[in-house]
């Protein structure tokens, strides 16, 4: 029995709550979005979110906050369609979530720019965009901008910028407010949340599952980097690896200093400029380091030289939850009916898709198009 179980029982008056319809293991963006989707669709469901320690690696509290479509799944058609659908579902999702939680999550969809530092890069990006447009039957919209066209959209670009890709479908959000809003909405809608409860062992029962003493009919693994270990206990192969990203935050700048979000930098609603975009394979080490901070700062200054005037106020590193091909894994256990695993690198972008069609799929009530997309992203692709 888990140490946290007794704590919860003390807190709960209703003995019934000992048995749940759903247990969600992990309360990051993925788990919280799914819980929110389930309770919205079926308000009577008894849902328990078991979350880990504050010292766990949590991509959900260290990420960049982009709702990013450009380039996602250019070599994986189902993922391309799913990302675009997910971004299209965001405006309604954001609206509803803000109303339910009374938290302004600073969502906006003004489009995004990806800058190319030479012609070859621009050409490569254009090819990826063409592939995405093809996979989505033209629903993905983008424009290839030469240097002058890019300058019209973002004045002050550095000499080395050769051009950019613009897509009106990209957006951004404050990811910390997003996570807080999901948790608050879930609480208001009746989802039970148990923090500091690292699930060690999941047993399969005749009808359901027992996660360190918490029992439910169905279970979804959303434990980020711990999904691989927990998946094995339920016969699911959920391969994920940590990929570190480092971030810098500048002092507040005049709004509109950056006109559009990009994968390397975005201006937050508070005026600060967030700089990121590094990728390192350094295991579970999530510390920031001077050399990488210098590199990403230099890259940002190469794109927009005036950023050199700004002081940095904070930096951190965080670990991405990365599958072998970077696309999400949506897995239903073959051996144990009612067990699922969800791993994904783009948990911000896909939050609306997870609260929407993915939750319907978990409830066995999906629309056929979504079902095909979701099931195309199961782990069969990793077994040769």
């Amino acid at each position: 029995m888990g140490t946290c179980k007794n704590e919860l029982l003390v807190n709960l008056v209703d003995q019934q709550l000992d048995h749940y319809d759903w247990i969600i293991v992990g309360g990051g963006l993925v788990g919280a979005s799914i819980a929110y989707g389930l309770i919205q669709k079926k308000p009577h469901l008894r849902i328990l979110v078991l979350d880990g320690e504050d010292t766990d690696h949590r991509a959900s509290v260290g990420n960049f906050g982009l709702i990013w479509v450009q380039g996602k799944g250019f070599d994986f058609p189902a993922y391309a369609k799913w990302s675009l659908k997910g971004a299209d579902l965001w405006p309604n999702f954001a609206n509803q979530l803000s109303q339910t939680s009374h938290i302004d999550i600073a969502y906006e969809r003004r489009g995004g720019l990806e800058f190319a530092l030479n012609q070859r890069h621009l050409k490569a990006l254009s090819e990826e965009m063409a592939a995405m447009s093809h996979h989505t039957q033209g629903d993905f919209q983008y424009t290839v901008l030469d240097r002058n066209a890019a300058l019209d959209m973002q004045p002050g670009l550095g000499e080395s910028v050769a051009g950019a890709i613009y897509s009106p479908q990209d957006g951004q959000v404050n990811p910390l407010y997003l996570l807080a809003a999901l948790h608050k909405a879930n609480q208001l809608l009746g989802v039970k949340y148990q923090p500091r409860c690292v699930v060690k062992r999941i047993e399969v029962l005749a009808q359901g599952f027992d996660a360190d003493g918490f029992v439910a009919k169905k279970i979804v693994l959303c434990a980020g980097l711990d999904n691989e270990r927990l998946g094995k206990q339920l016969g699911m192969h959920l391969p994920v690896n940590p990929v570190k990203g480092q971030m810098l935050i500048t002092q507040r700048a005049t709004p509109g200093t950056l006109k559009y979000a990009s994968p390397q930098m975005r201006q937050t609603g508070d005026g600060t400029i967030q700089i990121g975009g590094s990728h390192e394979h350094s295991g579970l080490d999530d510390r920031s380091s001077l050399d990488v901070m210098q590199t990403i700062a230099q890259e940002a200054v190469a794109v927009l030289p005036e950023l050199a005037q700004l002081q940095l106020v904070r930096s951190w590193g965080a670990l991405r939850v990365m599958s072998p091909d970077g696309a999400p894994i949506y897995q239903r256990s073959q051996n144990h009916k009612g067990a699922f695993g969800v791993c994904c690198h783009s948990g911000v972008t896909l939050a609306a898709a997870h609260a929407g069609p993915l939750s319907s799929w978990l409830l066995d009530d999906p629309n056929e198009d979504y079902k095909l997309l979701i099931e195309a992203m199961n782990n069969d692709r990793f077994t040769v």
Binding site: R252, A253, G271, E306, Q309, Q311
Partner: protein, 99 residues
């Protein structure tokens, strides 16, 4: 600038001349630049770039970045981390990023 809310607790401090927003002042030489600005009665040293709110030194230990000024016409920096120097030129900023 209004009457200062602060006074210097050091008795007979050494004085130092600084130029704040083009005006010469005498301030105790032991003060930080942020301390000197408060001593001189500045209640605002910068403006919030989004809301336009008045801001002033807050933490005095380099964390909050509410005290950014330019010193000797250089880049913006934290006034609480610098000690005043003779003839230092200190300028408070109304725009966070000078364009």
């Amino acid at each position: 600038m209004t009457d200062s809310l602060f006074s210097c607790l050091i008795e007979n401090p050494l004085q130092c001349t600084v130029v704040v927003n083009n005006v010469e002042h005498q301030v105790p030489a032991q003060l930080s630049v942020a301390g000197a600005l408060l001593y001189l009665g500045h209640r605002q040293v910068r403006q919030h770039s989004v809301s336009g709110e008045a801001r002033a030194p807050f933490c005095h230990m380099g964390v909050c970045f509410e005290c950014l000024v330019t010193i000797n016409k250089g880049q913006q920096q934290r006034a609480c981390l610098q000690q005043v120097m003779p003839n230092m030129r200190i300028d408070t900023v109304t725009k966070e990023l000078t364009q």
